[in-house]
Point group: C2
Chain length 468, copies 2
């Protein structure tokens, strides 16, 4: 366990082993205007690489241009590649360690570079040139296909041969903490002959993880599968807010459009592959059918990470009895993918399409084998057929800890609340005022237990506001 | 007719009445490195607004930030809105007019601001944050639907109710003059049970026009139909290069992906709505069915422009007999749309999705009523059933003039070559080495005839290179 001179709680998402990258606005006390920073999270602080580099640190990053942290966005750093990422990580772990005095003993540098997380406004970590959303969980694709075409035809003929994906909307990607408006749109009411225009009645979340692209490729120069992971800078949580009724009417034959382009939300901290390395996990083999050679991975190289995922819903403060209580409505894991991020990169570029630093590749909804691990309300309520009870453990605020009401496995050391829970409401789809929070973490056993230190993703959180 | 001190040929696409906007790289004789410029086309010159503004002109543009032309991209200028666009147009028309000495009489300023078109490298006019492609020509949708589902079910149930569109890939948008590589991809050979990976055998062009977005909107704040045209900075030609075999296998259920993300090409000059104003044309009424109120346009407001469109193919120099001869394979017109660009803007933002300056909204393939006005090879060859003869008029180079072999209406004053033509080859889909050129123009009758002065779009041209 690495020790820092900065206080890090034992259950923090952001120990010195993590150091996820982000961007934020910081209004320094006494300064006339806020300034833009990029850097890493450590406990309850944001550590400004911008300030540290301006003070002469973080100078020697192989492949990175001078002043790479001075732009308020991480795109250039992401484009610099693994040697620069690794060098920055090592230098930051040293600078922030308990035994190193360069920052610890300089009151001025600490003030310039250590910003309390509660005082900053997190931004998108990078300008997102393009956002692609895949459909890579077999359980999710099977559930959705079964609902609409029956279990016998659940998967389309192409699904087991290629990672199906579509181009999403980049402009409407927002970081955690931004609230979103229920969309209006064109819908076909059940049994109606003609569509109407009005508020969506089927607003949903989608629990996803996205890869943030590093160097990328030139147009016409595919990234081979063997090199694909080198182009992943790290991972974030992603909530692909969706309006099912709009999507259902519009999506034939060119795919989702207004049903999904009104908001896509990501967690602001990009967790690097180096931080996730202790939690590497294999994906199941793909042998029925065997995939084509450009996508074929040896079983041992079918890489994912053992990232526990959960989604909480906090209804609008309506009942004085349950202020701020959160219901965990699903628990899943990043191992619940059929296609690896490396395969998504290789397939995406196979025809020559270019990826750029900061691009996002969403996994698609990550659903597991059990009903409690389904990654969206469409599946959890079986397209609205079954109401979902929002059940919270008393005293558990959103994201404070496991609420124990989901059907999936809880984090180690926490128990399901069982009948001691509180019912906050019932849902088919989301109601105005609902706050949706995605969480993700690796490890997280009690530190005394000697397990690997918890590596967290923080939160991806947004409230659904009424139609504007 | 406006007269400039810069020479403009009578049949030029770029008279003083046009002044389309673009961006380019210019290596000034004697300079150590090339520099980036934005500005307008005039005859055979690029007029640098960057240089003129640096010399003290173009200072007073309402709503535009200082130095708006100093970034090498037009995004900020596009975002400034119509008052700034109109002021810049008026000031440039004055500065470049025959009677005005400020530029005409300064050898130094002429050298800094007037760059021969043959000596610059055209770039994308703006950074494209997002690119959306619609499907707005009824003839195109009907042809494609008839091929795959039969004439009775040609249009999907939603088609007459909303402008169907999908999110395209922004990273692979290239300007005219960049050559593209035939993509490899996953395809299902006819009759096969499993897909293979290999070169696409069905590479196609798509004749489109795209709206370039001006100010745009904030997330959650739709643009009402009545304000939509204010958000269109201008129009460009767009070739949505497509691989039909890849598209066919991948596109269910989320839409086109690798079939279309390997290259999208645009003409480098954005023709403004002010320049197109004399050629305004009405679209046919939409009354069967009537569309929903948020998309409903009074017949008199169903705006398009009378832009003649053509596509030329020049095969690789294979025959010494026909060097550089071009076959015009289709002629269409921007009036062949069912959905207006204003409706596309209103629908795109109806759920809150935000548009940003420089975004592209492609019309979709623009096909007319006759076989000779179909906008892609898929339609021209009826999915490969009918071979297309590439027939050129002797002596007509690509884009030099009308080659007269298309079945649509030629430009006034030119005649079809009839049997005097030369057959350059036959095609179902494109062959390696084929150069595809889109052209567009308004007016273009002989100047002596007293018609409105020709307003041209220039070319959107690229060669299909073999698989890399
Ligand atoms: Ca999704
Ligand atoms: Ca298209
Ligand atoms: Mg989304
Ligand atoms: Mg394209
Ligand atoms: Ni600027």
């Amino acid at each position: 366990m690495l020790e820092s001179f900065v206080t890090v709680a034992p259950d923090s998402d952001f120990p010195l082993e993590n150091l996820p990258w982000g961007a934020w606005e910081w209004h320094e006390p006494g300064a006339s205007a806020p300034s833009l920073h990029v850097g890493v999270a450590l406990g309850e602080h944001c550590v400004s690489a911008t300030a540290l580099q301006a003070a002469g640190h973080l100078q020697d990053l192989p492949g990175a241009p001078a002043g790479v942290f001075s732009h308020g966005r991480l795109n250039e750093f992401m484009g610099a590649g693994a040697p620069a990422w690794r060098a920055a990580r090592q230098q930051l772990q040293r600078l922030l360690s308990a035994g190193e005095g360069a920052v610890r003993d300089s009151r001025e540098l600490r003030q310039r570079a250590l910003h309390p997380a509660s005082a900053v406004r997190m931004l998108l970590p990078a300008a997102v040139g393009d956002y692609t959303d895949f459909y890579a969980s077999r359980q999710h694709a099977t559930n959705v296909g079964s609902m609409f075409r029956g279990p016998a035809n659940a998967l389309q003929p192409n699904w087991l041969h290629l990672p199906v994906g579509y181009h999403g909307r980049a402009s409407s990607i927002v970081p955690s903490g931004v609230d979103v408006f229920r969309p209006r749109g064109q819908l076909l009411p059940a049994g109606a002959a003609a569509p109407v225009f009005g508020p969506s009645a089927q607003v949903d979340f989608e629990l996803e993880v996205a890869a943030v692209i590093g160097p990328g490729n030139a147009l016409g120069a595919p990234i081979p599968l063997a090199a694909a992971w080198e182009h992943v800078f790290g991972l974030v949580l992603l909530n692909d807010w969706s309006a099912r009724d709009i999507q259902k009417w519009e999506y034939v034959p060119l795919g989702p459009f207004n049903g999904k382009n009104w908001a896509t939300q990501i967690s602001p901290w990009v967790v690097t592959l180096d931080a996730l390395e202790p939690f590497r996990a294999a994906l199941p083999p793909q042998d029925e059918p065997e995939v084509l050679p450009y996508l074929r991975e040896e079983a041992a190289h079918r890489r994912s990470y053992d990232v526990d995922l959960a989604v909480d819903i906090v209804p609008a403060a309506g009942s004085p009895d349950t202020p701020g209580l959160a219901a965990t409505v699903t628990r899943s894991n990043l191992k619940n993918l059929y296609w690896s991020f490396a395969q998504m990169v290789a397939h995406h570029t196979a025809g020559g399409c270019n990826l750029r630093p900061g691009d996002l590749l969403g996994s698609g909804t990550i659903s597991g084998d059990t009903p409690g691990s389904r990654g969206c309300l469409l599946e959890l309520t079986w397209a609205g057929r079954d109401e979902l009870e929002l059940r919270a453990e008393r005293g558990a605020g959103a994201g404070v800890g496991e609420t124990g009401t989901g059907a999936g496995a809880g984090a180690p050391g926490k128990e399901a609340a069982g009948d001691g829970g509180v019912v906050l409401g019932r849902r088919t789809y989301l109601e105005d005022g609902d706050t949706v929070t995605l969480r993700g973490w690796c490890g997280g056993g009690p530190p005394a237990g000697g397990g690997a230190r918890r590596i967290g993703f923080g939160r991806c959180e947004g409230k659904l506001l009424p139609c504007r």
